[in-house]
Amino acid sequence: MQQQGGERKEGKPEPPAVMGDGSQGTDRGWAWAAVLHFFLVNVFVMGMLKTFGIFFVAFQEDVGGSSEQVSWIGSIMSSLRFLGAPLVAVVCRRIGERPTSILGAGLVSGGCLLSTQATSVPFLCVSMGLLLGMGFCCLYQAAAVMTAKRCRTRLAFSNAIARSGMGLTFLTAPFTQLLIDTYGWQGTLLIFSGIMLNLVPSSMLLRPVRTQLPPCPKASHEDRSSAPKGEAGALAGHLEEATNGAAQPRSAQDLPSTEAPAEPCSTAAVTTAAPGKAPTASSCPETINEVVKSCRSLPVLKEEKSQPLIDFSPLKDPLFFIFTWSFLFSHLAYFVPIFHLVARARTLGISSMDASYFISVAGITETSSQLLSGWIADQNWTKKYHYHAAYLVLCGVTNLLCPLATTFPLLMTYAVTFAIFCGGFLALVLPVLVDLVGVQKLHSYLGFASFFAGIAAVGGPPLAGWLYDSTQTYACSFLFAGACALLSPVSFFLEPLAQRWKLQKVHVPMQSEAILQGSTGRTGFGCSQTSTSADLQCQSKNC
């Protein structure tokens, strides 16, 4: 036992050192590759969704069908992007992000190709709506989770960079129109399928986060039942113990940064990472987590097989409800004003040419505000969800004040302010989720959260339309959006409570475990008590 401990003592520091010099540069490179892929996904997916309106006209003329029937295609396409997320999360967990992403790209390409042969609206509903929707969902989920896994320290900024791809979509509309004029809608879909095929090589850039390290096979002996686990290399061992203790006894582990027993270790990682911003710093948490993950890889694999196909555990987690509540209402608050801003401008007598300036200015402002907000959040001056909540509150207040804007300059001010705050909170959605639940379980959480957000996205526009019909004024939609935006950060006030509740739930089994195994010298509580040594280890070995 002691010999094994000795081995492991020497073994553990090695992999971080290997990461430290040789492949740490390429690790950062792969993180940028993931961001690039996510960026491309945003450009293509949002571009396709936004240009559907141009295809709408062509479909109505050529394929026939009433306006309502043809608009079903667009609705299916954009709603499946969210509603298919739980299913895609399952697929992702089973076969990994890279294959899922390639599958998604293939679905989108194939759907476009198949649609060129379309002769009726139901055919298009399946080929364009279903296939494209599911493809987009696969692409999105895989890209988002891979970005979260790869970019630990600068997640908010990377997320913002990737999301700025949506800002480029204003170019796709004239491009699509040009293609349709030259090649007709069938030729355009053919060319689009080729363009979407470009997502296959970019998906290949989503290298799975490495799980192969030399000392690992020895670590496979570390089950909960065996003693040597406590003698794992101090650093990785402490983290491992902490996460094993903090999480539920038998399920796959995650590394939430806010759970108390794990805090000393993860804050150790963060504090070494945040100051200095040296190249080594950014990979520090990555390497630690990779070491942890690598040494848990075999036990984790064993446990994964015993997991149910669909992981319903997010639905039992109060943090999930907190996040989804906020996600849902913030989505409603975002979509509704977008739909009605131009219409309101026109009812106030502003020409549609001027009104279209709102959209372009808002788009540019939103993109830059996303980048700024992501950068600020990454400085870690305070927890990310504080920023998120602040932006949402300000957005809500702006929306509530919107009915007072009745002239062009005032509406422009509203549009700019709204775009600033919207960009702010949109950039932080993924980082906040990662902060709350960690990266390991991100798939299931993101899947279910997207599902509920999808319900909001599907119901949002009709609801807004109904609001207008019943009140005959667009001011009401803005008030509604403002109310939604103010409701959404309310759940974050419950976050500390939920964390404490969650801790109490797992603290009891952890305490009993420690009592049982206290005699074997396990360091179950080791993390919280030896935070200083963990710090020292972290600083000296890795950073």
Binding site: E14, Q186, I195, P201, A234, T530
Partner: protein, 265 residues
Amino acid sequence: MLRWLSFVVPGESDVHVEKNIFLGSAVKIELSCRLADKHSHMKILQVTWKKGNETIKHINKTEISWGIQLTVSENRKLGSYTCTVTGEKEFSVVFHLQVPQIAGREKPVVSYKGDSAILICESRSYTPIAWTWYMTNGSEQIAINDSLMLDKYVIDKADANVTHLKILKLTEEDGGTYWCEAAFELGKSKGKLKLKILSLMVPLKPFLAIVAEVVILITLIFVFELYSKKKEKRAEDEKEFDQIEQLKSEESNGVESNSARHRKV
């Protein structure tokens, strides 16, 4: 059926004012021109209503407005009616009475060989009596009779305001200019449409170019992955070798210090 339609256009000096009036069916119409307020006290020398060179007798509706009444029941009555008021300055107003215009499509309809294309013409505000389609062959216009080529042309007559011409089994010769002619009570009106036939190769070329680029990228990334995996494996093997060496030497000395550290923790 006859209806009354009345139009008043204020005339301005030195500005030639025109107004288009579309008549879907026979009507009784009154056209009048009126002096703008700022010229209301201008001394009027002469007021003339003309159609072409023909003068029409007008009636003085008020001191400053004059009108004519027409029964437009046939094509001959359509045309341009001018009201000229001569005083200190001269101004005139022109009314163009015409059949409703059919809007064709400026951008050509694009379709592919072997596929089918649908050409649509509509006249929403005025319902025509009949629709006829013409195809341009060289410089002639040939009417497309439904009975002429049943399996090639299908004309959809479901809605009186809209007409669909569906052309099946497209070939290169089917491309060109098509006319849809709407027959109204007072005359006929044509709309122009263009049909462009492309072969499948045309969009296929950019598609294949993009696919080739994708395949090249995939190959590059694949090769890079294989190469880096080989490099990693070599590096790992070396490290393992080193570690084993180190551990062998450590075993003899470092065991006690390690376990002591652990127990303290």
